[in-house]
Structure formats: structure tokens, C-alpha cells
């Protein structure tokens, strides 16, 4: 009796160990065709494609677009099943990093352009998509130059879902209330407008500075002007300039003037991106600097009909207002280790070919990274959407955001440094020095 009990407990312990070991090996292989006898002749092998995406909210156009295309594809290809791994942006970033550390990247995932995807590409985690881009003429659907942001050594590694620029959204009604008749074209006018709005008790500008990239995005636009054109960060990276350059110091100085004029809402640094944006969308603030990806959401908000956009003004007479902060969208990449590499490529090929058409039908095509056929106005796009489309038509180049250009460690130092400007006045030269030392320490 006692010995049998002992054996049973031993067995139980052993079972536990085995199950523990099994936990480590989470790579469930549900898709492999177990019927190996006919595998080679079977033309419709069952395939599951894991599609990690950042479209968790069924009410947004991006969710509807992705699912409509995906559903259509699985209808046409009954052997293909798509497993949606929908997460919000931050979660997805974390999850992908964790997965990348154990080399278990999902079949399709989402990455940000340039510097933000470089680590993944360097680690050989993504499959080059050149061959797939040549199929069905997919390459030609993309706007000129956009794929460069996702290319390394002449290989394209990801396909963008959007192409955005930074613009200033403004609430026409609140401008009227404050007696401002024209949108500012110089930085001094902008600061004057801020003061006028402030005097009327209207919050001039909002930003969700808890997330830090928001303020940096605006700051970088100031720098784009004071540098008299794009390329400051690449010059720094190439060693031909340093952050101590007068253009950078001037940008910090101008940005501080804006903050000191009381442009931003109180407590901006403890407010996240969504909270900041909703202040603007509920008509509690007059201006909002953001990428054009926000157009759809603003358009559909209560103040949508009153909102217009204007170009970021020139600073101290410098810069060209038709140069913008460029924000090539998040992009779809395919895992190099995907079990069904060909099937995944075929699906993504179809997905991207359909993307502009379906987006157009869903009234979300203004910021698509591909060429869109069709007349926005005739399709009933709103005045705001048309205005944004008009601005985008006249874009004459620009810069990528800081964290898309510099490595993550330098970017973090920059983001915090800019956040600090929101809460205290700092000597611009010391901000520049702080940037330079962070850059050198993380080269």
C-alpha cells in the first residue's frame, strides 16, 4: 500500500515535470499536414497564417479594412485560415520584441520604418519581399520613394499601411471666438495666436506628452525649419554636424518660447496620447499638431465639421512650409522563419493589392501609402479629408521623426529631454549638449 503510494506520487511528480517542460515549447504545430502520404500531391494543404496587427478596435476603419480583405481571401482560398493576433500599439511592440528574442516572429507582423525596424532586419528575422512585390505589379501601386523607408541593402522588408505627414489641426470656431482671422504662417504669428487664445480662456494647443514622442514630433518640425530643410539628423549621424549646431539650439529656443507662451494644456506631461487627442476632439482646445493619421478620428468626432488644417509655419524666416515631418506608416513584415513563407507572401500580396480600393470605399484612403484611384470629393469625403489630401499633394520632402532616425537609446534620451522642456525652462545650449553626449554614448 505504502510503496504503491510512493510510486504514484513519483509518477505525479514526473508528469508535472513533463508538463512544465512542454510549457517551454509553445510552438504548437496545428498546421502541418499529418497525412504525409499524400502531402506532395495534395494541392490545397491546410495553412494557418498568424497575422499580428495593431487593429484591435472593431469600430475603426483600419480594423474593418483588414478584416474585410482577410475574410474575402479565406473565402477564395478555403485551405487558408487567418489567425488575427490583434493588440494595441504598445502591447504589440513589446510582444514582438519578446517573440523576436526567441526567434518566434508571427507569420505577418507590424513594424515601424527605418531605425525602428533595423534591429529586426539585422537579426535576419524578416524575409525580403522583392520577389513578392514584383508579382501582380504590387510594387507599382506604392507611392514613389515610400518603400525606401523599409529597405535595407536594396531589399524591401515591410509594406506600409499609410503615409502621413505632420500638420496642425485647428478648430475654426475657437479661432473665430478669439478673433483670429487667418492661420499663422510664421512662428511669431503662431505664438501671438497662442497668446490671443490664452487671453480668451481657450487652451491654445494640446499634446499627450506623457507618451513623449508627441512633443518630439512637433519639436522636430521646428528643427526642420531652423535647419532650413531636411537632413539634420542624418548629418549628425554622418558626423558632419553635431547637436551643438546653431540650428538645433535655435530650435530648442523657439520651442521653449512656445511652451513659455502657455501654448499647451496644464499637466500635459501626465496626459497620454489618447487623452490629449480627445481634448481636441471635444472642442476643449484650439490647435493640435499631429500626423495625418488622426484625420479620420478627428473627422468623425463632434468637432469634425469645424476643423481645418494648416502647414507648420516657418521659424524666424527659415524653412519651407511645404516640407513636412514625414511619418511613413507602420508596415507589414513577414517572418523569415515562417512555416508557410510562400502562402504568407501570396496572402500579403493580395492584401496590399486590395488595400487602397477597400480603404477608399471605407473613406480612409487619404493617408494610404499606395496610389488611390477614384475621386475623393465624388465619393463623399469630408472637407477636412479633402483639405488634408490637398496638403499632401503639395508635400516637398521632409524629415523622419527622431525615433525613426536614431537608435532607440539616443531616441529615449532625446524624448525625455524634450519632455523636460514642458516642465522647466532650460538653457538651449545645455539641451544640445545633453543630446550630443547621449548620441556619442550610444553610437
Amino acid at each position: 500500500m505504502r510503496t504503491s503510494f510512493k510510486w504514484m506520487s513519483l509518477a505525479a511528480a514526473a508528469a508535472l515535470m513533463v508538463s512544465l517542460a512542454a510549457c517551454g515549447n509553445s510552438d504548437k504545430d496545428e498546421t502541418t499536414n499529418t497525412d504525409n502520404g499524400s502531402a506532395s500531391t495534395d494541392k490545397a494543404e491546410n495553412v494557418t497564417i498568424t497575422f499580428q496587427n495593431i487593429y484591435p478596435d472593431p469600430n475603426t476603419p483600419s480594423y474593418k479594412i483588414a478584416h474585410q480583405i482577410g475574410d474575402q481571401y479565406t473565402k477564395d482560398h478555403p485551405n487558408v485560415k487567418i489567425e488575427w493576433d490583434s493588440l494595441n500599439t504598445d502591447q504589440q511592440k513589446l510582444k514582438l520584441k519578446t517573440q523576436a528574442a526567441s526567434k518566434e516572429v508571427p507569420d505577418i507582423t507590424i513594424v515601424n520604418p527605418a531605425a525602428q525596424m533595423k534591429d529586426f532586419v539585422d537579426a535576419g528575422l524578416f524575409a525580403p519581399l522583392n520577389d513578392m512585390l514584383d508579382q501582380n505589379g504590387l510594387k507599382d501601386t506604392f507611392q514613389e520613394g515610400i518603400l525606401d523607408f523599409y529597405s535595407f541593402d536594396n531589399n524591401v522588408y515591410a509594406l506600409p499601411d499609410g503615409n502621413n505627414v505632420g500638420v496642425m489641426f485647428y478648430n475654426k470656431k475657437l479661432f473665430e471666438q478669439a478673433g483670429i482671422t487667418a492661420t499663422p504662417t510664421t512662428f511669431d504669428e503662431l505664438i501671438n495666436d497662442v497668446k490671443t487664445l490664452k487671453a480668451k480662456g481657450i487652451t491654445p494647443m494640446v499634446t499627450g506628452e506623457k507618451d513623449t514622442w508627441t512633443g518630439s514630433f512637433l519639436f522636430m518640425n521646428v528643427l526642420l525649419r531652423t535647419n532650413n530643410g531636411p537632413g539634420f539628423l542624418s548629418d549628425v549621424a554622418a558626423g558632419t554636424k553635431t547637436f551643438n549646431d546653431p540650428a538645433f539650439v535655435e530650435a530648442v529656443d523657439s520651442f521653449e518660447k512656445l511652451v513659455q507662451a502657455g501654448a499647451f494644456q496644464d499637466g500635459a506631461t501626465s496626459m497620454d496620447y489618447n487623452a490629449g487627442e480627445s481634448l481636441f476632439k471635444t472642442g476643449k482646445a484650439a490647435m493640435y499638431y499631429m500626423g495625418t493619421w488622426a484625420t479620420g478620428a478627428i473627422d468623425q468626432s463632434d468637432v469634425g465639421a469645424d476643423v481645418g488644417v494648416f502647414k507648420f509655419p516657418t521659424v524666424n524666416g527659415k524653412g519651407n512650409a511645404d516640407e513636412y515631418m514625414l511619418a511613413p506608416g507602420s508596415a507589414f513584415a513577414i517572418s523569415a522563419n515562417s512555416k508557410h513563407l510562400q502562402e504568407t507572401k501570396d496572402f500579403l500580396n493580395y492584401f496590399m493589392l486590395q488595400y487602397p480600393k477597400v480603404s477608399f470605399d471605407m473613406k480612409n484612403a487619404v493617408s494610404v501609402a499606395q496610389k488611390v484611384e477614384g475621386d475623393f470629393a465624388a465619393a463623399g469625403y469630408s472637407a477636412l479629408q479633402m483639405e488634408v489630401a490637398g496638403l499632401k499633394g503639395a508635400v516637398k520632402g521632409g524629415d523622419l521623426s527622431f525615433d525613426n532616425t536614431m537608435n532607440p537609446a539616443t531616441s529615449q534620451a532625446h524624448l525625455t529631454s524634450i519632455q523636460n522642456l514642458f516642465v522647466q525652462q532650460v538653457d538651449p545650449a545645455s539641451v544640445a549638449k545633453e543630446h550630443q553626449s547621449a548620441f556619442e554614448a550610444n553610437k
Binding site: D122, A123, D266, G267, S270, P408, T416, Q419
Partner: protein
Amino acid sequence: MNALKVPARTIAVFVLPCLLLYVCLVFVPIFFSMYNSTFDWNGIGVKKFVGLDNYVTLLTKDNVFWPAVRHTLMFAVFSMLEIPFALYLATLINRYVKKPNFFVTSYFVPVILSVVIIGQLWKTIYNPASLGGMLNQVLDGLGLHSWTHAWLSEPDYAMYALYFVALWQYLGYHLLIQFTGISNIPTEIYEAAKIDGADGFKADWFITFPLVVPIFKISIILAFIGSLQSFDMIMVMTGGGPAHSTDVIATHMYNMSFMSSKFGYGSSIAMVLVAVCLIATVIINALFNKVEKKIG
């Protein structure tokens, strides 16, 4: 152990699963972090061995680390200071309230709320008056306009605003622990003391406090370790900002590992945190052993 008359082998078999689980979940990650902390590694690509460089940089060159340590230790000190208060509150409830369960439960409510909810709640309370912040509106209403602040956005106040929320949340937790400790003291002792003329505060001082020392110790250690590991509430409320002014060791570790992609460096911060926790626990234990011996 042998009082149970069970062979050591059987004990081993029964202990094994739990031990394995514990080792897997606690020691393996710690050793893994220790190993990683000797590399320059972005978490994805090639690891480059750098020996103790990460620790050297952390301890000598990192401008964020030492303030973060200070914030963390202050956090610990404040939470420990709260415990005598919780104990006193518990004695009062125990003595003057006939059916104390209701009180204790209501004090406990914040503990069961999710940190995210508490964070959002207090963010709204701390908001500037223009955005409907309750605290500032109350101050305004009392004519104390000069006392109003953007509590979470001003570097001088943000950290204290966070300490306060943590104290508020965990008061009920420690109160419950202390209250249980006090309730377990036999009433005969108090009756005997009453005959000897010890009543009220005197009874507290000579009977209650010495007898709850072991419970008090548990509370202190929990508060200390808990505040060293504080992370979630800060992440929700300020994210360590503005400009690192509310960074603690754990948020610094997170930012370095995940935001700056310096996994090796982040791991070295984690190791320092482990070391601080272990040392602190040993010190607190030693101190209390002395105190207990003195009383006993």
C-alpha cells in the same frame, strides 16, 4: 520533521514539484538576468560580452539611476512610516468599535481595486482645475489658489503625489494585518492589566505593541519590498516623467530594456534591484530579531 515519521525520500518527492516550480519561476530568471547583464545586447541581435561594464556605467555614469534609487528608498521609507499609523488605527478600531468588520473592510477596498483604476482615479483628482481636477478645485474653492499645482507634471511635487496614492491604497492592507494581530491577543491579558491599573494608552504601550511586533515586522517587510518593486502605479500615472523626475529603479529598468533596447543594461539594473531587496530583508530581519529578544 521526523516527528511525522515519514522517510526523507517521500518528503523529497512531495516537495519536489513545488521546489521545481519555484526554481523555474524565481531562480532561473534571476540567473538568466545575471548572465544577460554581462552583455551589450539589444534583446534581438548579437550579444557582445562586456564583463562588468554595465555595472560600472550604471553605478558611475548613469544620471537617472541614483535619483531613481533615492525615489525608491523614499518610497520605502514613507510606506514604512505608514505602518505605525496603521497599527494605531487598528488599536483604536479594536477598542472603540463594536463591530469592526465594516470599518476594516472599507479601509481594505482600495487594495482590491486594480492599480490602473486607482491610477486613473487619482490622475483625475490631481488634474489641473481647468480639466476638472478635484483637488485643485477644492483648493481654489477654499481661496487657496496659490496652493494649486499640476501635481503630476511639476517635478518638485510629482513624486510626492505618487507616494501619497500608494500610502492611501495600502493603508487598508496594513490595517487589516495589524488588526488581525491585535485581535489574536487574548483578552485575559488586558483584564489582568486593568486590575493592575493599566488602561487605555498604557495598555497599548505595554501589552499591544510588544505582542504585535512579529506581525509588525511582516508588515514592514511587505511594505519595504513592495515599494522597492513599485512600478505599475508609476507607469500608469506618469510613466516616470516628466523627464525622469518620478523614475524608480523598476521603471528605469523597464525603460532601458524595452524603450532604449538595452537588455543587457536593463538586466544589470534588475540585478541591483534583487541585491537591494535581499540586503534590505536581511537587515530588517536582524533588527527585528534584536527588538524581539529585548522584549521577550
